[in-house]
């Protein structure tokens, strides 16, 4: 953590200093040189406080997040997330790929619901290249997207319980995820990073296998999800640990640029599907569920409500899907005319956005990827101080960050 990163510790040459002393010193005094006001404030310890380094290899940090906790006993005084352990420089990579290839780079950002990080760049590129997407393709995008949303929310609900110490719900929640993933694999060929959306449509029409699996699943999905949630929603321990925990009020949520279920749990009905419609969402009927409490429990329960709405959307899409092509006619190498485009879609975690600049060549000049997990992880340092270590995990889990998106 010190800025000195190269070469052995200077005192290792000194025979009068033992290895144990060096290790002890480096562990105990591993406080970085403060570079900013905030850092200076965080790394100044008052009497009785200790720093606890959590991660990047920790059972509950959702990947490779590292957080430094400033503790007073069990109570968290302050918290400093340290990112970058999964940083791959996707934005730079996209600038060195052509427009089609760039979509593949965005795919692994959100490995839990990867269709949504394809969706945003695809829409942005279509705006740049003035491509009209066939209606059937739009319906397929909505259909697969909502399925992916359900699978993501289902997994989230199990994950939340896991971070509260419940072992079973996570595996139960994989029932839904597994079925949906199998379904999507039938048309996309992959189970995790679907890479299905293309500029101008989708890669291939939905197959018979997909439809039969979907029909089979739809007939029992409602009851099945209800049953899985019944395992948890009224569990006294879960409710007591989540209610009133990490309360995010309406104004703070807006100030923190929160989107998605997290802001809707704070009472702001901001859903890009309604607030700034894209695709065929204006033609579909669904509600935007909100909750007023803004605590962990509200964020958790809201996901359950959203699953129901997604099922509703899927039902309508299946009834209204038109026939036709699923892909606009486009050259292999597109060169959009110079310009800028921003597109945002509503993912299971919030707003996925892409800001793309074209300079008339076959590669993006600049591609900015906005990921909701990144914004939401900031909330951890806002919501957890004053609570216990255990609540840190509960609050972080309720915000549902995915580290692939946070670190880009």
């Amino acid at each position: 953590m010190t800025t000195q990163t190269h070469g052995p510790h200077p005192s290792l040459d000194d025979p009068s200093i033992s290895v144990e002393d060096v290790v002890r010193e480096s562990i105990v005094d591993a406080v970085p040189v403060a570079r900013t006001e905030r850092e200076a404030e965080f790394y100044t310890l008052r009497d009785g406080e200790l720093l606890l380094n959590m991660g990047p290899q920790h059972p509950s940090t959702h990947g490779v997040l590292r957080i430094v906790l400033k503790l007073d006993g069990e109570r968290v005084v302050d918290i400093d997330p340290v990112l970058g352990y999964l940083h791959r420089g996707v934005e730079k990579l996209c600038e060195n790929a052509d427009w089609h290839q760039a979509i593949c780079y965005t795919d692994p950002l959100e490995y839990v619901a990867s269709l949504f990080c394809e969706w945003a760049p695809v829409v942005a590129f279509e705006k740049l290249a003035d491509v009209t997407v066939p209606r059937r393709a739009e319906y397929i995008r909505v259909l697969t997207g909502e399925l992916n949303r359900i699978s993501s929310h289902a997994l989230y609900m199990g994950w939340f319980a896991l971070d509260l110490g419940g072992l079973t719900p996570i595996l139960w929640s994989f029932i839904e995820r597994d079925e949906i993933v199998e379904m999507l694999a039938a048309i996309t060929g992959q189970k995790l990073l679907f890479n299905y959306f293309r500029i101008g449509g989708v890669n291939g029409d939905i197959s018979h296998e997909f439809m039969s699996r979907l029909g089979d699943w739809m007939s029992r999905a409602g009851a099945q999800i209800e049953a899985n949630q019944g395992l948890l929603n009224e569990n006294e321990i879960l409710v007591r640990r989540a209610r009133g925990m990490g309360v995010l009020d309406r104004e703070t949520a807006l100030r923190m640029a929160v989107t998605g279920p997290n802001i809707r749990a704070s009472g702001v009905p901001f859903d890009i599907r309604r607030a700034h419609p894209y695709s065929v969402y204006p033609e579909l009927e669904f509600d935007v569920p909100t909750r007023q409490e803004g605590d962990s429990l509200a964020r958790y329960l809201l996901r359950g409500d959203e699953i129901k709405q997604s099922l509703r959307i899927i039902d309508q899409v299946l009834h209204e899907m038109p026939d036709g092509p699923v892909m606009a006619t486009l050259p292999r190498l597109i060169r959009p005319r110079p310009g800028r485009a921003w597109a945002a879609v509503e993912g299971p975690r919030g707003m996925y956005g892409t800001y793309a600049i074209s300079d008339g060549t076959d590669q993006p000049f600049r591609m900015r990827i906005h990921d909701p997990s990144f914004v939401h992880l900031q909330l951890v340092s806002l919501l957890t101080p004053g609570n216990l270590i255990a609540d840190t995990m509960a609050i972080m889990a309720s915000l549902d960050p995915v580290m692939g998106g946070v670190d880009k």
Partner: protein, 446 residues
């Protein structure tokens, strides 16, 4: 080249090993016989003078041995039952239905490197698992498994129990403090806070039982509950049972009170820096504790080894007393295996095309199964301690299953909720229970 060298060179490996081991064994045997001849009378005299000491040593040995299969069974149950609850298959590779999985776990721990990280207080670090394991094993000593089958019958058995479970706290605190790791420290301190808090309702819950039975000896407690299901203390002390179960889970550091090793929060708590057999001791101690708490619940509230209803066993079956047959029993011992093997092998030999040898092997295995079954059946029918063991273990494992079930179902509570629950709810409830019990006893007696 002497004949000895030539012979030695012509032997294969097994032969060489035997050629070395057999003379040594012979020599040792002779020495043993000699020592026994010379010192035997004195030793027997000494032992005869110190039967309690002998009994104590034997009991300790038996208890130490008993913990191993107990832990293995509980670990296997936990793996398998939780797997089933999680819609998984669980262990199914090692042994039939994966039953040898926990044995393999144990071997794995044994074969790992005995590692201590830099900066630990090595003496305390090494001693901590021993203290924890010792604490949980020693509690076995006073548990009455069956009539006449117990380590020690102390008249202060209950106090001894709490003293021993208090020892566990010391061990966990030692582990947390010596590990030179903040997670361990937090885990150790959590365990100290938790166990000290829950010790109080745990102890107070049993005061009602003690008032009823008028004794602190666990044997006397069980005898006081003997009779039928109506005599169990669970009916007279339901509140105490609830308090005891909750506090017992917390004492055993089990989910939902497993805060000391909450992996989502503090990695593995006090055990973070431990590996190999040092960790194995903690691991074993945890599962032995699960069994101990179950056994205590059974002993205090569910009649221990007594049968739940008017059980006809043990009965003495006249005429099957082998000792009365004299030489006949010897002949039977020689003849019955042979005849039994042949009789059981005959159908296989006649009905299918397998060879005679295979048929005999099958017959021999079948005979063993039948013989062991008959022997166990006879023991169950005519020995009261076997019957007692049966009931004791049957009841105990019901509660072991209950603990595993809880672990598969519930999320973890928070430390402040845990402490608040102990002091604000369990402690007053236990006090109320004591007053009500005492009042009722006074009223009934007067």
């Amino acid at each position: 080249m002497s004949i000895a060298v030539v012979t030695w060179q012509r032997l294969n490996l097994l032969g060489r090993i035997l050629a070395i081991v057999v003379p040594i064994l012979l020599a040792l045997g002779l020495v043993t016989i000699g020592v026994a001849y010379v010192a035997g009378p004195y030793a027997v005299g000494f032992l005869a003078d110190n039967v309690p000491l002998l009994r104590f040593v034997a009991a300790i040995g038996a208890v130490l041995l008993l913990t191993i299969p107990t832990a293995f069974i509980v670990i296997y149950l936990e793996l398998k039952v939780i797997a089933r609850m999680n819609l998984r298959v669980g262990p199914d590779r090692v042994g039939p239905f994966g039953t040898a999985m926990s044995v393999v776990h144990g071997l794995k721990f044994l074969s790992k490197e005995d590692f201590a990280p830099t900066g630990v207080d090595l003496r305390v670090f090494t001693l901590a698992p021993v203290v924890v394991f010792g604490g949980s094993v020693m509690t076995f000593l006073v548990i009455p498994f069956a009539p006449g089958l117990f380590g020690l019958d102390m008249n202060v058995g209950m106090l001894y129990l709490f003293a021993m479970s208090g020892l566990t706290v010391v061990g966990l605190l030692m582990a947390g403090w010596s590990s030179f790791n903040k997670y361990s420290l937090l885990g150790g301190l959590r365990s100290a806070a938790q166990m000290v808090s829950y010790e109080i309702p745990l102890t107070l819950a049993l005061v009602g039982v003690v008032l009823l039975a008028g004794t602190m000896s666990l044997n006397q407690l069980v005898l006081a509950q003997s009779g039928s299901i109506a005599d169990w203390y669970v009916w007279r002390q339901p509140l105490a049972l609830i308090i005891f179960v909750i506090a017992g889970i917390a004492e055993a550091n089990r989910s939902p009170f497993d805060l000391t090793e909450a992996d989502q929060e503090i990695v593995a708590g006090f055990a973070t820096e431990y590996s190999g057999m040092r960790f194995g001791f903690f691991f074993f101690a945890e599962y032995v504790n699960v069994f101990v708490v179950s056994a205590l619940i059974v002993t205090f509230f569910f009649g221990g080894w007594t049968a739940p209803f008017d059980w006809p066993f043990p009965v003495v079956i006249s005429g099957i007393d082998p000792l009365a047959w004299g030489v006949g029993s010897l002949i039977a011992l020689l003849l019955v295996p042979v005849v039994g093997t042949l009789v059981l092998a005959a159908p296989f030999w006649l009905s299918s095309r397998i060879s005679t040898l295979q048929a005999l092997v099958i017959g021999f295995i079948l005979f063993n199964v039948v013989a062991v079954g008959l022997l166990l059946g006879w023991a169950f029918v005519s020995l009261d301690w076997v019957t007692g063991l049966f009931w004791f273990f049957a009841k105990s494992y019901v509660f072991v299953f209950f603990f595993v079930w809880l672990r598969g179902t519930l999320p973890r509570v928070r430390i402040d909720q845990l402490m608040g629950f102990a002091w604000k709810w369990l402690l007053p409830a236990a006090l109320v229970n004591i007053f009500v019990t005492a009042a009722v006893i006074v009223i009934v007696n007067s």
